[in-house]
């Protein structure tokens, strides 16, 4: 845990944080609103005492109540991974500003998050499906997309709140429940 980084980040981004700044193991976690993503990431990338030059990962997350986009960044100024969570994106119309103006390589990562979660990245010039076929309608990694059979059911029977609400028994055999396009 890099305490100095925590102080620096709290001083710099204190007014845009939407949750507490958490640290565990070698990770530091920021929570911001989706509209602040371009400004915060530009500051993290450009400012000389931060210099987060490497985008280590971009992931979509569906918590069941809302969507998140999670950025992992690396910098030579700190020994920690920095995790920036754009939190509270509505599930029925997920929209986030794109960061392809900072990292051109984020284009395909955003395409993947769009393909799997339906998150629309505003400003990405090429936001189309990347893995699934073009006529596919649902978003497979959303939590209301249930696997048709339990190919890998664990001993714990997956006691998951979301999946209990939509009991798999209600799904017709052999079909995949589709979300709205």
């Amino acid at each position: 845990m890099d305490r100095a980084l925590r102080t620096r980040l709290e001083a710099r981004f204190g007014d845009v944080l939407t949750g507490p700044l958490r640290q565990r193991h070698d990770e530091t976690e920021l929570r911001i609103a989706p509209k602040d993503v371009p400004d915060v990431l530009r500051s993290l990338h450009d400012e000389p005492d931060l210099r987060f030059e490497l985008l280590a990962d971009l992931a979509g997350v569906d918590t069941g109540e809302h969507m998140q986009v999670v950025y992992h960044l690396w910098s030579e100024t700190t020994a920690d991974w920095l995790r920036v969570i754009a939190d509270g994106i509505p599930r029925d119309e997920p929209r986030v500003p794109s960061i392809t103006f900072l990292w051109k390589g984020a284009e395909w990562l955003e395409r993947e998050a769009y393909d799997m979660f339906g998150i629309v990245f505003e400003g990405n010039r090429d936001l189309r499906r990347i893995f699934m076929p073009p006529d596919y309608l649902s978003f497979p990694l959303r939590k209301d997309f249930l696997l048709p059979d339990d190919a890998a059911r664990s001993p714990g029977e997956g006691a998951r709140q979301m999946e209990r609400a939509n009991a798999p028994l209600a799904t017709p055999a052999g079909s995949i429940r589709r979300t709205k396009a």
Binding site: W74, D126, G156
Partner: protein, 431 residues
């Protein structure tokens, strides 16, 4: 003409030479008459692959790509193409023999590993990691177990960490040897891949003697590894190490001094430092562009801080630099293996853990330096025995993306060299 039974075929048998089949014949639904020889009926679907998709463009970029300019044409390569390192389709827009633009089409190998892992328990997910980058499976398992160990606050015994590094570096050498061999194969040289396979075969046999499998090892466990080093492994590794350095290096002289190989790679697919960072490159490809970024030093994990090795870099950033850098890395990996054998402590190889693991709710990100770059896992636990979210980050995905930057302006043949030097593995890209 007689059939096997010796009887003459009936007059309406279409196999009779000289009798022209007609397309209206109900027996030939789905076939069409060949233009070259009217007696030959061809399958309608074979030999016809329309590169332009049969639906309106979804984005501006797609519309721009699938509009031909003056004197341009489309060429479709793949999905079954020997130089695409897997099942990849690339649509190229050509002007003569020069590539104007290209559009990789992915998803032919998509299995939904992330979704499968979110419906499997923690131990089961490790087996799903292996077939991702099937030539360097240990580096796919490694970040997964590291992420779980962070979620569970498990301390891995030092002997297990040394075994992970030892087997990992062996796996790195075998992966690099394969990359170097296939690089030559893609450019038309058959011999180097055969020499690569001699050493690689020895390594996969070594790893099979402790893991039980040649390619998909499923060897790492949460909190350690599955099984200690055995006598068979140690004696064969000792034999191999005594000759590995000279053997690997003598094989590389086949290519390094080959004028055809060098000329086809030098100055091809040049990537500069800033663009490489912008395209989120990592691993040997980034280091060949002059950035000394190696997670083993940049974000140390396991026992790498205790080991002495260098991070080779090159400034040219072309295909040849990416190839030569892999040779330098093999030398460093041999150094690391040597130190592991000398410094390996005694002790247990797994931490004591219950069989059913339920980590407390939380998030963890772990990344390792694989043979292709940063391999990362972001795991979210919701308190059950299954990961709530399991994100796999693959470096090849981002390297493949830079085709659009590297290939335009070059020849079709240069595209082969660029593809081979980036060394993408489609199993990991398509997940």
């Amino acid at each position: 003409m007689t059939t096997k039974t010796g009887q003459h075929p009936s007059a309406d048998d279409p196999r009779v030479i000289g009798q022209h089949p007609s397309a209206d014949d109900p027996r030939f639904i789905g076939l069409h008459q060949s233009a070259d020889d009217p007696r030959v009926m061809l399958d309608d679907g074979v030999g016809v692959y329309e590169p332009v998709p049969p639906y309106p463009p979804r984005t501006e970029r797609e519309a721009e790509f699938y509009t031909l300019g003056e004197g341009e044409m489309f060429l479709n390569a793949g999905p079954h193409h020997p130089a695409t390192h897997g099942v990849l389709r690339v649509v190229m827009k050509l002007d003569g023999e020069r590539i104007v633009d290209l559009d990789p089409v992915l998803g032919y190998l998509h299995r939904g590993v992330e979704k499968l892992c979110e419906n499997a328990d923690l131990h089961q997910t490790i087996a799903y990691m292996d077939p991702l980058e099937y030539v360097s499976s240990l580096f796919c398992e490694w970040p997964a177990v590291m992420a779980y160990e962070k979620l569970l606050d498990v301390k891995v015994p030092p002997r297990a960490e040394y075994i992970r590094v030892l087997t990992g570096e062996l796996n790195r050498i075998s992966s690099h040897l394969l990359a170097m061999g296939f690089h030559a194969l893609d450019l038309g040289g058959i011999t180097p891949i055969l020499y690569s396979f001699i050493e690689r075969d020895e390594i996969v046999d070594l790893l099979a003697s402790i893991t039980g499998q040649r390619m998909l090892f499923n060897y790492f466990r949460i909190g350690g590894v599955n099984g200690d080093l055995n006598h068979d492994f140690m004696s064969r590794l000792g034999d191999w190490m005594s000759r590995a350095g000279s053997e690997v290096m003598s094989n590389t002289t086949l290519l390094n001094e080959n004028e055809v190989f060098v000329r086809r790679n030098r100055g091809v697919g040049v990537m500069d430092r800033e663009t490489a960072l912008g395209m989120c490159w990592t691993g040997p490809n980034l280091r060949a562009s002059g950035v000394p970024f190696d997670l083993r030093r940049a974000h140390p994990y396991s026992v790498y801080p205790e080991l002495d090795f260098d991070i080779p870099t090159r400034s040219e950033g072309d295909s040849l630099a990416r190839y030569l850098l892999r040779i330098d890395e093999v030398k460093q990996s041999l150094r690391i293996i040597d130190q592991c054998l000398h410094q390996m402590p005694d002790g247990p190889v797994t931490a004591k853990l219950p069989r059913l693991l339920r980590p407390r709710p939380g998030r963890a990100f772990a990344a390792v330096e694989g043979p292709r770059g940063e391999y990362g896992i972001y795991a979210i636990s919701d308190g059950t025995d299954q990961p709530f979210r399991f994100r796999i980050h693959d470096p090849s995905f981002l390297h493949l993306q830079s085709f659009n930057v590297l290939a335009p302006g070059g020849l079709i043949a240069d595209w082969m060299a660029i593809n081979a030097s980036l060394d993408p593995i489609m199993g990991g890209i398509d997940k």
